[in-house]
């Protein structure tokens, strides 16, 4: 039996978006019809039972997140649901594919999330560069209003939801849940202190839930086909399918929806076609720029939350960046660190100042100006990019590639310092 690919099997090849009629023909908005016969609490429970965990990087159980929202007549109003379509994690390109290929799937998922927490208003927070996604979502929202899926009395029920597209002006911090809330309120995207958690006090102080695009895209299928079915899609105990990606010098870079728990080896060798001729595998960032490198000995690790964590990294966004032997490990670490330093919001000293310092050290090593104590200095600096020293998860994310590169590619760093040059450049 061919494996099921609920998120992507209906996306037309050739780059067109699936139309509303096409989506409906393939079961679209049936999950919503089913949910409207249930109570919001029952919808939350169905999603909790499915085992769906957040696909935005942290893997928080989705149903549980929703269950913290104040419900009923006494709950503060209006309540908000937000789709996080900021996708600025370097190496990540999965949400764009879902939005361009099947915008109604995200919209239905967002309506369902809204119904589950009795939300009044929904926002899709999308990064400014995703122009095609914006156009397709804007059109799909209009279609959803016309078809009675949005607005008052959705499908003749007494549920009402308004939905708007918010196009961001670009900054990695906008993807961080509470930075996103500030950006939506028209402020700098600095993070907020937690608690209070957004579920209780989010946008304009009202209950708000934020979920990733891929997370939400799963919800219609869970409501249509049930929690059990969703559990059965995966190979391991983390449920569902996952969009996995590979970029770098593999033969066929791309994106594949596969059962959760597919191994790194299967993704890189079977789906990405292995390494390009003449280059060899050295390591992989399994889930975007802010995850620890894994190396050859980890190729048989299953790509699910638990297994990747056990191996010392994070599933993150599930889109892998492959490091090959023709690419300098110091150079790649410097590139990653420059990104985090540039995108730091400047709130915590260990983050903005420490990252900047680290870029200087890394650039110096790469330029052949490194000094003997530099690696210890880097390690020491990176210990302060950790929860407790910094306000949000940006700095801890920046620490992961640096610390793991120092662990797995230490010889290369040391050779740069001893030979006073980068042997990949000269």
């Amino acid at each position: 039996m061919p494996t099921e690919k609920p998120l992507t099997q209906s996306i037309p090849a050739g780059g067109e978006a699936l139309s509303l009629q096409g989506y409906e023909r393939l079961g679209g908005y049936q999950g919503l019809r089913r949910a409207l016969q249930m109570t919001p609490k029952q919808v939350q429970e169905e999603v909790t039972n499915s085992g769906l965990r957040g696909r935005g990087g942290a893997g928080f159980p989705t149903g549980m997140k929703w269950s913290f929202t104040p419900m009923g007549a006494d709950a503060p109003r209006p309540k908000y649901v937000v789709a996080n379509a900021d996708e600025m994690e370097p190496g990540t390109f999965k949400d764009r594919y879902l939005m361009e290929g099947n915008p109604h799937q995200l919209i239905e998922g967002l309506i369902l999330a809204g119904f589950a927490i009795e939300a009044d208003v929904a926002f899709i927070f999308i990064r400014g560069e995703y122009k095609l996604s914006q156009e397709r979502l804007a059109r799909a929202i209009t279609e959803a209003y016309s078809a009675g899926y949005l607005g008052r009395n959705i499908l003749s029920s007494d549920y009402a939801l308004e939905m708007y597209l918010h196009v961001s002006a670009g900054r990695y911090m906008c993807g961080e849940e509470t930075g996103l809330l500030n950006a939506l309120e028209g402020k700098r995207a600095n993070p907020r202190a937690k608690p209070p958690f957004p579920q209780v006090s989010g946008l304009w102080g009202k209950p708000t839930i934020v979920n990733n695009v891929e997370t939400l895209a799963n919800v219609p299928h869970i409501l249509e086909k049930g929690a059990k079915w969703f559990q059965g899609l995966s190979l391991t105990k983390d449920a569902g399918t996952k969009l996995y990606g590979a970029s770098g010098k593999v033969k066929r870079p791309g994106l594949w929806e596969l059962p959760m728990g597919t191994t790194i080896r299967e993704i890189l060798e079977e789906h990405a076609g292995g390494m390009r001729d003449g280059v060899r595998f050295r390591g992989v960032l399994p889930g975007g720029a802010s995850t620890d490198f894994l190396v050859e000995e980890h190729l048989d690790v299953a790509m699910d939350y638990t297994s990747v964590q056990k191996a010392g990294s994070r599933l993150g966004t599930g889109t892998m960046i492959v490091l090959d032997d023709q690419t300098c490990p110091v150079g790649i670490t410097a590139n990653l660190t420059h990104f985090f330093a540039q995108e730091s919001c400047g709130w915590c000293t260990p983050c903005w100042s420490g990252l900047k310092w680290a870029t200087k050290i890394l650039d110096a090593i790469e330029d052949g100006q490194g000094r003997p104590g530099d690696l210890d200095k880097l390690s020491y600096l990176s210990t302060f990019w950790s929860p407790g020293h910094t306000f949000c998860a940006l700095a801890p994310g920046a620490a992961e590639p640096v610390q793991s590169a120092l662990k797995f590619f230490r010889d290369d760093f040391e050779r740069h310092i001893h030979e006073k040059r980068c042997s990949w450049r000269s």
Binding site: G91, F93, E129, Y164, S168, G186, W204, L285, V322
Partner: protein, 154 residues
Amino acid sequence: MLTAEERQEIEVELSHYPTKQAVCIDAMKIVQRHRGWVSDESIRDIGELLEMSAGDLDGIATFYNLIFRRPVGKHVIMLCDSVSCWIMGYERMRAHLTERLGIQMGETTPDNRFTLLPIVCLGDCSHAPALLVDNELHGDLDPAKIDTLLEGCE
């Protein structure tokens, strides 16, 4: 002064949010879409409409990568410098662009035709290296493809 069209587009956004400040980023982007960038005068005009100080607005504008507080050329080229593009040849693409255009990153050509800027990951990693020309995405770059793209810009 904001044009009637700009005002009208800002009004539409205002209807979606409970506060005026919430639309300030949209408002700056609307102005930028019409004028190419956001001048001090525009900041003052938007501030007046949304009841915000110019200082507050400027602090917000400068936080975001896609709001230009300086004039840009007729065509804006944004070259991705994030990790996947870096692996796949970003430095070569940058060298080619800076040489062809005779400017460095962050600069505008003397004839005001091109501005060249770096940008973070564009989410086109399986087609790296990638760039945006006037907000249109182009991947699988090589020097020849860059030349064709530049020739396509009037």
